[in-house]
């Protein structure tokens, strides 16, 4: 084959990463892995942003990536803080143990 790597390739890769992240959030039972999957989701989007910026020759999407990275860091920091607090009480971070809110 030996063709150029086009925008399409990047978008497919980013779409695949996005779906893997989505599956991770929905299916995994450890909240730590769920948080990792969330990061994967955001980074899939980042990849798409960077690729689009590069191929269309506009800087805006690549600037947007910095916003996303900052926000992802804030979210991760908060999420881990909550997880630590949960672990102190329950000694577990398994999602199916989070069952105190049921009617």
């Amino acid at each position: 084959m030996g063709g150029e790597i086009t925008l399409g390739h990047y978008l497919v890769l980013s779409g695949a990463l996005f779906l893997i992240g989505l599956a991770g959030v929905v299916l995994r039972r450890s909240l730590l892995v769920v948080m990792m999957s969330l990061e994967l989701l955001l980074n899939a989007a980042n990849l798409a942003l960077v690729a689009v910026g590069r191929f269309q020759g506009i800087p805006d999407p690549q600037v947007a990536v910095f916003f996303v990275i900052t926000v992802a860091a804030a979210e991760a920091a908060l999420g881990l803080a909550i997880l630590v607090a949960i672990f102190r009480i329950k000694k577990t971070t398994a999602a199916d143990q989070m069952a105190s809110l049921r009617f």
Partner: protein
């Protein structure tokens, strides 16, 4: 008037000020922090209607807009903030009492985010504003670090919020791929007249998915009841009213005037909105029926209300948008008093179980009357305001010729009576259990509940102010005005 006095700037300054006051003053002044926050919020409430109509400074004009919609919803969000700070003052933080200033300051930041969101005209601004709102809320929901329910609610909201963020960012990436810009009016101008591309539809779909999480529309509603129940009640109020309204304001802006307000996109999304609306109304109503916890009941009721608003919005016409504006205000006046009462209930009993309402009417006549009016308004009984706005939704659907949606919505409105009457029955007909004394309220709160309850009645008889608000939000075609202004 300068832009430095815009509500957003003042909200952030007030939040920072609260934290500073808390850390710089002697410990014995700590108990003054709650009244201070409430007074600040109240002051902002009087200031916001004056300042939110002013024009945006030139350097920000590409990101933010000041129009009818934003100037109507900024006071809405600040009003929510007033209620939240007031409720926080009456909320027991237990072991977290030493960080009360943070608990009071974070809603200010979140409200600043909401006000920015109401003004945003670029998806990047939307993204940053939404995250300002969400990240403050994750922290607030999980604020009770020693209470399991609060932490679980926090992590649930964080995971769901993270998903929503992921969808939004992916949507933004695809918008760049499809159109090369994320600014609402430029998107609209560049796409007008062209055949719609799959990439643009994908982008719109991703953005709508992200917002569906925020308004708790089916199938992205599952987090709402759990998070509402676990969160500290003042924060539940913020989530239920302000955060939900923000999602709708944004949907209205992008589908009513900017970004996706295209005929070609509309034809694809109209059936999606209507189907989602029907599903949301149905699930919200049916799932609310067996609830015995007032907070969960309100969560499902909120889901059902979001469904009605989605149906009105789904017609994608001016009438639909106006209806959503009026509906959101009516929802605020009916829901906030109930949450204020739940806050007192939790202070008294530690939970929001429906049986704590038993026999309330005998002890607290005024409060029970106010609450009854609110519940009846939510149920949509005439002559309360809830009826007027539901009627507006049905009229919109009728005029748009959406008969299946109309039939389902009216059926669910009737079934919905069932669960709204449950708390009223408890208040007026049940006997107070000897072991559990009924909830007691301070007398000024009774007056607040009564006043807002009567406001529901008044607006039902005289809905002109709501109609005026709806008209003002639509009046100047906002995007045209900006284009000429640039």
């Amino acid at each position: 008037m300068t832009a430095w006095l815009s509500p957003e700037v003042l909200l952030v300054l007030a939040g920072v000020g609260l934290i500073l006051v808390d850390s710089l003053t002697p410990l014995s002044w700590r108990r003054l922090i709650s009244p201070l926050a409430f007074v600040l919020a109240l002051g902002l409430l009087f200031w916001t209607p004056w300042s939110s109509g002013q024009s945006v400074p030139d350097s920000w004009r590409n990101l933010f807009v000041s129009d009818g919609l934003s100037s109507i919803f900024k006071p809405f969000f600040v009003l929510c903030l007033v209620a939240v700070t007031g409720m926080s003052a009456r909320y027991r933080l237990g072991t977290e009492e030493s960080v009360r200033a943070e608990f009071l300051a974070l809603p200010f930041f979140s409200t600043a985010g909401l006000c920015l969101l109401a003004s945003a005209r670029d998806f990047l601004a939307v993204f940053v504003a939404l995250e300002l709102v969400s990240i403050s809320l994750y922290l607030l929901v999980a604020f009770h670090r020693t209470k399991q329910a609060s932490l679980e609610a926090g992590i649930k909201l964080l995971v769901m919020g993270g998903l929503s963020t992921g969808f939004l960012v992916m949507g933004i990436a695809w918008l760049y791929a499809a159109a090369g810009t994320t600014e609402f009016s430029r998107l609209l101008l560049e796409q007008a007249g062209r055949p719609v591309t799959p990439a643009l539809l994908l982008a719109a779909g991703l953005v709508v998915t992200s917002l569906a999480f925020k308004i708790a529309a089916v199938p992205f509603h599952a987090w709402a009841p759990d998070v509402y129940e676990g969160a500290p009640t003042p924060i539940t109020a913020f989530l239920a009213v302000a955060s939900k309204a923000a999602g709708f304001v944004l949907l209205m802006r992008i589908f009513g005037w900017g970004a996706f307000a295209l005929e070609s996109v509309g034809t694809v999304f109209r059936p999606i909105f209507l189907t989602m609306g029907i599903a949301t109304v149905t699930l919200g109503t049916l799932a609310a029926l067996p609830q015995r916890n007032l907070k969960r009941l309100l969560a499902y009721s909120g889901i059902a209300h979001a469904g009605y608003m989605l149906l009105a919005l789904g017609t994608l016409g001016e009438a639909g948008m106006g209806t959503v504006v009026a509906y959101l205000w009516a929802y605020l006046f009916a829901t906030l008093p109930v949450l204020i009462f739940i806050n007192e209930m939790e202070r008294n009993h530690g939970n929001a179980d429906l049986r704590h309402l038993d026999g309330l009417a005998r002890r607290e006549k005024g409060a029970a009357l106010g609450l009854m009016l609110c519940f009846l308004s939510m149920a949509g009984l005439p002559p309360l305001v809830g009826f007027s706005v539901k009627l507006a939704v049905f009229t919109t659907l009728w005029n748009a010729g959406e008969m299946p949606a109309l039939v389902v919505a009216s059926l669910m409105a009737v079934i919905g009576l069932g669960f709204y009457l449950a708390p009223i029955r408890a208040m007026y007909w049940e006997r107070e259990a000897d072991a559990i004394p009924a909830t007691r309220l301070p007398s000024f709160l009774v007056w607040v509940l009564l006043a807002v309850g009567l406001l529901n009645l008044l607006l039902g008889f005289y809905p002109k102010p709501l109609v005026a608000l709806a008209e003002r939000s639509l009046a100047p075609a906002p995007l045209n005005r900006q284009e000429s202004g640039r």
